[in-house]
């Protein structure tokens, strides 16, 4: 067969030819050639001095009492149906619905005194937990991953900040959820997967050419594009035109770089590994997060759910369209238990846990008193979040809630302190200033807010 493209390889910035990449991808023999390709390009790996982060967002708001802050001696209407169990950290108990997590408690700490004072809708909590602040005065603050990418840039060809699987959608408040770059500008928005990694035919939308665009055609298109653009040299030099071209090149590198494509190629994971994480949207997203971090992505957010309506989530009001406690314990908790525990094990086995912060958090807690529908409602008064990995010490309990799990009893902790802790863990000065709207400097975390020092 006559192959024009084979006779005319196009050279890329990394010194490898596009033909190599596309053929490798197309023939699916990536497993064989990959180590060679990887060794030719050291760029993109995480230097040992740098820390990355995976944020598991437990959309809906887990109930503190039924999860990681059990109250066995509270009255019946508060205690709930689950018993506490011991963990591998003496004295630390969690709910029996997380048996696997209990074996990894040395790898994470519990912060049991988180609270916020904004309106008790999901959206406000999403903003505060993902950016450290409540949006007000027309200012949208950047997600931690956007700010990190702004400060440090992306590594090699993979995006700096990736959001899996989809942004949080409808949760009732119709407010922004804080997953974007806000005032930093669109170029620091996350790369959003917009697909379900547990789908049988999972692939990243727009990352790969559609089926009808074969490799030869895709390559010819690029050469045709150059035929137009070569016409106006003076035009090329202008900054905006250059930015457009740079983005086109970045996109092209992303779609043709085996490394970037391979980072998203979940089907390259052994079946056994995919089973270990659980074949759920959340489980496979956690696995994908690990793959991405391993390949140089700085920050990955995994949203456990996209909405709280008509889906079994942490939002256990007890009646439709929401979830009841038993459903949560039967479906949501095991899903989380399995994926989270595997993520910690897997990172540890690969030597990545010491450079990867893993945090899991919801947007608020639940009312201690069980409601007439047998559920619990929104309660930002106190809840528990998990954090470990990287420089964050595991095996600790920071703060306590009161006897009923209603308010913080010791060390009340606000969302901003969590963000400041993550920034510090990532190696950033939490008070480093970003250029805000109208030139107003805005620190990563408010000046008055300090990281949780007990975690370092």
């Amino acid at each position: 067969m006559l192959r024009f493209d084979a006779a005319r390889p196009v050279t890329f910035c990394d010194g490898l030819s596009r033909r190599d990449f596309l053929h490798v991808g197309a023939i699916s023999s990536l497993g064989l050639t990959l180590p060679t390709l990887m060794s030719q390009r050291a760029q993109g790996a995480t230097p040992p001095s740098e820390v990355n982060c995976i944020m598991l967002f437990l959309v809906g708001g887990p109930s503190q009492i039924d999860t990681w802050d059990p109250k066995p001696s509270a009255p019946d209407e508060v205690r709930g149906p689950f018993k506490p169990i011991a963990t591998n950290v003496p004295g630390m108990q969690i709910s029996e619905i997380f048996p696997r997590m209990a074996k990894h408690a040395d790898k994470f700490s519990l912060i049991r005194s988180v609270y916020h004072t904004a309106t008790a809708v999901h959206d406000t909590g999403h903003q505060m937990m993902q950016t450290g602040r409540l949006f007000a005065g027309g200012i949208e603050y950047p997600h931690i991953g956007s700010a990190l990418t702004y400060v440090k840039g992306q590594r090699g060809e993979v995006p700096g900040y990736v959001l899996l699987p989809r942004p949080i959608g409808r949760t009732g408040g119709n407010l922004p959820h804080g997953h974007s770059a806000g005032f930093l500008g669109k170029q620091y928005d996350p790369f959003i997967l917009n697909a379900d990694p547990s789908d049988k035919n999972f692939k990243v939308p727009d990352l790969l050419p559609p089926d009808y665009l074969g490799t030869i055609r895709a390559e010819r298109r690029q050469r045709m594009r150059e035929a137009v653009d070569g016409a106006l040299a003076a035009f090329e030099k202008q900054a905006q035109a250059k930015q457009y071209d740079d983005n086109f090149n970045l996109a092209y590198r992303l779609m043709s770089s085996p490394k970037a494509r391979e980072a998203f190629a979940l089907d390259k994971e052994p079946e056994a590994m995919r089973d270990r994480y659980g074949r759920t949207r959340f489980g496979q997203s956690c696995l994908l997060a690990r793959r991405l971090i391993e390949r140089g992505v700085r920050f990955v957010t995994v949203n456990m759910f996209e909405t709280v309506f008509d889906e079994i989530t942490w939002d256990i009001h007890g009646s439709r369209p929401f979830t009841d406690i038993t459903e949560m314990a039967k479906q949501v908790a095991p899903n989380f238990d399995k994926a989270y525990s595997t993520l910690l094990e897997d990172l540890k086995e690969r030597g990545l846990l010491q450079t990867t912060i893993v945090t899991a958090m919801g947007e608020f807690g639940r009312t201690p008193k069980i409601n007439p529908a047998g559920g619990r409602d929104h309660h930002p008064g106190v809840w528990t979040i998990l954090m470990g990995g990287g420089p964050i010490k595991g095996g600790q309990v920071i703060g306590e809630s009161d006897e009923l799990g209603y308010s913080p009893k010791t060390r009340p902790t606000q969302p901003g302190e969590i963000a400041a802790t993550i920034y510090k863990g990532l190696g950033l000065d939490p008070h480093k200033e970003l250029p805000g709207p109208q030139g107003r400097p805005i620190p990563l975390a408010d000046y008055a807010v300090q990281p949780i020092k007990e975690l370092f």
Binding site: P159, F191, L213, A227, K237, Q243
Partner: protein, 825 residues
Amino acid sequence: MKYAPVHSLLLLVGCASLAQAQALKILPPQVTLARAGATQRLLAVLEDKGQVVADQSARATFSSADPKIARVEAGGILHAVADGETEIQATVDGKKATLKVKITGSRTEPNAIFRNHVIPILTRAGCNSGACHGALAGKGGLKLSLRGYDPTSDHFVLTRQNLGRRIDRLEPARSLFLLKPTMMVNHGGGQKLTVGSGDYQILADWIARGAPGPLAQDARVHRLEVFPTEARLKPKDEVQIVVRALYNDGTSEDVTRWAKFSSSEDLVATVSEDGQVKVAGHGEAAITVWYSNQVATNQIQSPLPNQLDARVFKDATRTNFIDDLVLQKLEALRIPPSPACSDSEFIRRAYLDAMGILPTPAEVEKFIADPARDKRSRLIDRILDRPEFIDYWAHKWADLLLVSTRKLPQPAVWSFHQHIRQSVADNVPWDRFARTLLTAQGSTLQNGAGNYFVLHRDVTELTEATAVTFLGMSITCARCHNHPLEKWTQDQYWQMANLFSRVGLKNGERSGEVMVQAQPEGEVPHPRRGVAMAPTPLDGKPLALESTQDRRAYFADWLTSPDNPYFARALVNRVWRNFLGRGIVEAEDDLRQTNPPTNGPLLDRLAQDFIDHKYDVKYLVRTVMNSATYQRSSLTTPQNASDDRFFSHYLIRRLTAEVLLDAYSQVTDVPTPFTQIQIGSTGGTAATSLYPPGTRALQLPDSLLVSPFLDAFGRPERAQTCSCERQQDSSVGQALHLNNGKTLNEKLRAKNARVAAWLTENLSDEEAIRRVYLLALCRAPTATELSRFKSLLAEAAQDKQATRREALEDLFWAVLTSKEFVFNR
């Protein structure tokens, strides 16, 4: 080498003649010192044709005719000694300048007052900044108001709080207020003040006099004077800025050492904390000076090192006043203008900028073939009469006014959009458009304008949105404290807000209907003072609280008065930005004092011309489009390539989301279906059949139609009144979408796409290439392009796997994703 002496001789002659034309002058030009111990920093500057070109203060010898009245230190610091008048002389290189000075009040006691001396010293030292004691929670137990916006509370905090421990009136030096910032005792903020310094002495004297608080009769700063007001310098030159506060009791005071300085362009000129400007590069920088809630700016020009013939500017094409004023600025900065754009560039540019569509091949060919000299201006006239012109501007104002089902029910969106569209179609003057909107009454379904009040139910939101919409300024900061970047105070904010406190809304009988009416009563109290302020437009006259006039009408009178310095400027700046790619003030809705225009006289003149022509938007558009400035090439010359703000060439810009999508539909002949809509109130999506096939993105009244393309390319959400909502940056996501996404690829593949007809016609490769170029780029391919494409198409023809249709689709794709297509140029 042998030419060297001649050379230096020439240089000498040059310098001498240059120096002769320059006169020495002392600034400020008049000085009266009215306080015991008062000082004034003097500058000895060289002026050329009335413009400051050098600061010689450091080299000058200053002397006083009568040192018993006023003495002057080396470097030019003037000190009051005794009442009387005398003369100060400055000498440099044989040039002399004199200044009459008057000293009064030299026998009074030191009279530093809290408001005008103590707070400025704290502000300058950073004590009340957001990072220190000005933070919402204070620092170390001491909380001051941010930058001293609340002197009364600050005085209380400093003198009474903590059992008055902060002040020791008997032994001022033992006051914590002085011990902390001088680090005599430990201070988390470090050393901010030196014992015995001038500022220390002022604070100590103030404490010794009993630490008096702010009084109602305190003199207030009503204006700042900055010297020199403008300077024309070259890189490495330095000039000191002197700031004088003018008080409302007629006195003035040198406040240079307490003022805060910043430069708009550090690459052109930097300014030190003490006001020493150092020129760093070429161009123009504005130095902003803040003192006591007042702001002033001066301008530092550093012309480019271009050797230009005066004819470059004299012979440049001029069609109206815009060109005179732009060329005047370009000449001052020695930036040559680019030549005029070609006819094919012009027709594409004009169509896209004024109507958001591409010209058809027939229109392009007819225009290019037209021999008439005035064909461009006749084309502009035709554009102004096209229905697509209405679509484009209605869409623009709908962006501005946030027309969307995000917050409004569907029927209200139609009614609001229809109101706007009809106003554009009727070319309703901008003042009438604003008044109609701001005084709207009755059913929001009958009078769509009333929806403005439904969108902004909250009085602060209404106040702030109105300021951005019609004054092009954000006053949001002043809601909680005096505006840090503007002169607006919190009091002024709540005076203005009270103009909007009497808007009544109640649900009508029909679904989605709201009845808007002016209420006879209702006040919005100042949150700190707890009382309602007399309703007053910014810097305007108050309306009595007891007046029963519709306060909105009072506001509209002020807003649309020809004397309003903001209203016309805000609109002309928006229109200018639409056509020239950058506002004279950028961002287009950020007309604050600390963000000066790049060509002030041009903005002033455009605004005046707009007022003189009764706020006729079409007239304004016509004036801008006819200017030679608008019609310049986007290609730069080496001498003007660095200019991105003085309009020496047309600034390229990416087509906006809607225009680009419509252009793809137009070139491929495949319209975009808009069949899914996001549900604004609850989220989720639903099918909609409101938008028939062929509806263009620019014709959509709503911002919630589902379109991954429009989202990727930065369609504004219409959630917040801000030009920043629209994103014109390019992103990786956009590039991925163009490469692999459905929008463009499916238009190319559609069964009835333009390319299908060409296959039936059995078009040759060359003809196909020519047609795509004309359709998309409004020009013929160059010989190189033609031959490259022909060989690429020939290559494709050899590829057994590629059909001819696919090859032609790829040709379309390449042209439609090229920079030349995606950018207006």
